[in-house]
Amino acid sequence: MVNLTIDDKQVSVPKDATIFDAAKAAGIRIPILCHDKKLHPFGGCRMCLVEVEQMKGRQIPACTTPVTEGMIVRTQTDDIIKARRMVLELLLLKHPIDCPVCDAAGDCDLQNLTYEYKVNSNRFQDEKFSHSIDYENPLIERDMNRCIHCGKCARICDEIVSFGAYTFISRGIEAKMGTQFDGPLNCEFCGSCVSVCPVGALISRPFKFKARWWALDKVKTVCSYCSTGCNLTLGVKDNKVLTTIYDENQGWHNGQLCVRGRFGYQIASSDKRLTTPLIRKNGKLEAASWDEALTLVAQNLKKAGAAAAGLVTPRLTNEELYLFKKLFKDALGSDSIDHSAGYAHSALTAGAAESLGYPASSATIADIQKADLLLVVKSDAYETHPVIGFEINLGVKRKDVDLRIVSDKKGKLTKLPKAVTYLHKPGCEVSLLNALAKTIIDENLVDAAFTGGVAGLDLLKKGLEGYTPEKVADACGIKADAIKTLARDYAKAGKAVILLPIGLGYPGHGKELAQAVINLSLLTGKIGKEGCGVLIMAEKNNSQGAVDLGLYPTAGGKDAGAIIDGCAAGTVKALYLAGENPLVSYPNQQKIAAALAKVEFLVVQDLFLTETAAKAHVVLPACSFAEKDGTYTSVERRVQRVNRAIKPMGLAKSDFDILNALYTALTGNAAYANLAEAFTAITAAVPAYKGLTLQGLGENGVVVHTPSKPKFVAVAGAAPRAEEGKFALLTGSALYHCGTMSLHGEGPMHVCPEGYLELGREDAKALKLEGDELLTVTSATGSVKLKAKIGLRMPQGVVFAPYHFAAQPINSVTAGDAVTLVTISR
């Protein structure tokens, strides 16, 4: 620690702190334009000038000067104020003072400082800039005339997002923040640059001219797309969510968001939302009252009794999921409930539950940056969880984390500096991980002290016998030496985390893969310690909550697959779908459609009239995350509070209210009087959540842990499927979407409006493709027409398609296998 004096205040700060950090710690505000706490110091704006007694007469920037022992700093002398006013005068010389029409006004650092330092006139005179404004893209408007050259956009894009869309171009007075060849912006559109821009040079187009900053109510809540659990501040006006607001002090991710979180908020106030219950009359869905709809649903559910089944989306809050389970178990006596098609979370519900003793990840997101080595299974970890991807970027670039990727295709992560990618044939992840485990055992790299306390090592050794690197090498297309090197590096790394994304688009990422991954970390003892463990990244905002609360059959009931079969066979009499859209997101669309058409009574409770809801007998309008209170559990088991920002749309009710009303209709009593009571019931029933209180969760939530009972489970890897002349189709998540809900967010749809088939250059050449031709993809299950997208990511013979899109349903060719063999024709 270093001791210094700032404005007569004594402070003690770590030796790597700057004067700016020290002042912040002492509660002294130093004005600054080019600083964000997530970024490296820049020293570009010269607003943070201070005087240090030891460097008499010189004014030095606080943000780039490290502290030294005994420093005496003054931040508010007359000379400094004079200097800062001159800095502002010079900035205002070129800045078009168009505050009345600039969306940043009110939240503009330059405006605030100009006001604070009373810069009313300017001693200098010059012409303003006349750069052309970039209106080309639908999300980010770039007006470089307003730019003050703080460089924050370029730095955040490079340091955290690792995209590098911006850089300063030209020199001297002509210098400006430019893009590739000074053309229009073409990037990931995460909007990080917009969030850090201190002025209005970069603004959000969906929010352009919608409201002034001071008129917005700021409501802190949690994002409802992926399971990263990013905290979010919604800007609300007149009962409408108009934007998301950046707060560098919010959450562990310091306010950093991805394209879905930042620009996909329109689901809350969309015109397309359901606003009234609908009942099918004479084959058509017609508006009805809540009484009518609920009575009809209750009647039919009662009639079905134990033959009723429910599929629920893990986007609901913990309280709602728990109530859903209670409704089926207590009121209907049915155990046939499931979520996310059953398979999407089997890595947690079956894999981790058996191997670790609890159905959750052992690592937290903070472990990523603390690790020495990071093993990512599938490069898709960036696409499914972009903000965790930013953590990986930061780990690799700042903490020198050794990044290894085992993947069937390349991706953004494989482009990171020093990242090593092991590109394998599709569908042989388990064999490959088994070969790694086998190498670790054979080369005696096992952490004997740790594995001594873990059951099943002998069984594992036996199970791994057939998985020598040499044997696996041929099947998976990676050299045996490479497999051995990876195994050695992983075993020898001091701390290592394994990341495994799972979800509806990844049928291969199930129980076996999770257990193979956990075996690896158990063998080397890299679990249960800081910077070590396995992070199984489930898909949706409350996936971990659904798993923790046991939203799957536990007493012999039907799982999702059996429920669909039961609908087709007539053993399921009534199907209750809460937020699920199986017609688009479950594999084998034809089978799902046939099953849904057969079931006697179908209720869909959703935000929008989804493809599935359009087939229902009764549709109940539910509330989005912005309209309700409750809790979500993120991927690292952080239980966080969701806060209501707006009133429900039209007659829509929160899922909690709907389920509670149904429970009352079926049993005569309400299940819970309020959310708090439901939360208390959860804490009593779920051991991991014991002792939590709603108030105790605070703003940042609480990470819950459970003691581990690890055990080795030998798993068998499937042989990769291949056929001459056929392509291996992989499904998954596109960077801009999450599930099927983001299709109703305008931001993501501006950038990625339709499905596509991504294929490599060699294959495109062989098929004589030039650009975005329409291709017919055919499998044994069915066929679909998709636009071609030629890129550098896909190896030869492998194609990729995102599963989100209803208009181009890739699930009409899939049948729930990790890899689907398809033929492609024009």
Binding site: C99, P100, A105, I133, Y135, F209, A211, R212, A215
Partner: protein, 134 residues
């Protein structure tokens, strides 16, 4: 004891006033000419055949009676303009803060004070009615 003196004094005053110029005006036949800085009905200044208002929202922000509704929109040239500008005169207290706040001199207050109407709706002045058409 009764003395007629106060009564006579009073009657004299009355008599005097009979021959003085009246202080009341015969409204509506006669009308008061307002002072130059009188704050009457608002008007939106016009430039290039459209309102000068850039929809900066400063007037609804400063308005103590919350009687101004503005909605901004983007025009063909990507510029900001007021797609809706309404003043609810039933709420307006004619303080003139809106005129003070306007950064582009788009709003002024005229001398019009005859603002009575038969219907409540007629007191909501839309942008079209507020435009200074001279």
């Amino acid at each position: 004891m009764f003395t007629p003196v106060p009564l006579i004094k009073g009657l004299l005053i009355t008599l005097k006033h009979l021959f003085m110029k009246p202080v009341t005006l015969q409204y509506p036949d006669e009308k008061v000419a307002p002072f130059p800085r009188f704050r009457g009905l608002h008007a939106l200044n016009v430039s290039h055949n459209r309102s000068k208002c850039v929809a900066c929202y400063l007037c609804p922000t400063v308005c103590p009676a919350k009687c101004i509704t503005v909605e901004a929109a983007e025009d063909d040239k990507h510029d900001k303009y007021a797609s809706k500008y309404e003043i609810d005169l039933l709420r307006c207290i004619f303080c003139g803060y809106c005129v003070d706040a306007c950064p582009v001199d788009a709003l002024k207050m005229t001398s019009a004070y005859e603002l009575a109407s038969y219907k409540r709706d007629d007191f909501v002045f839309t942008q079209e009615r507020l435009l200074d058409k001279r």
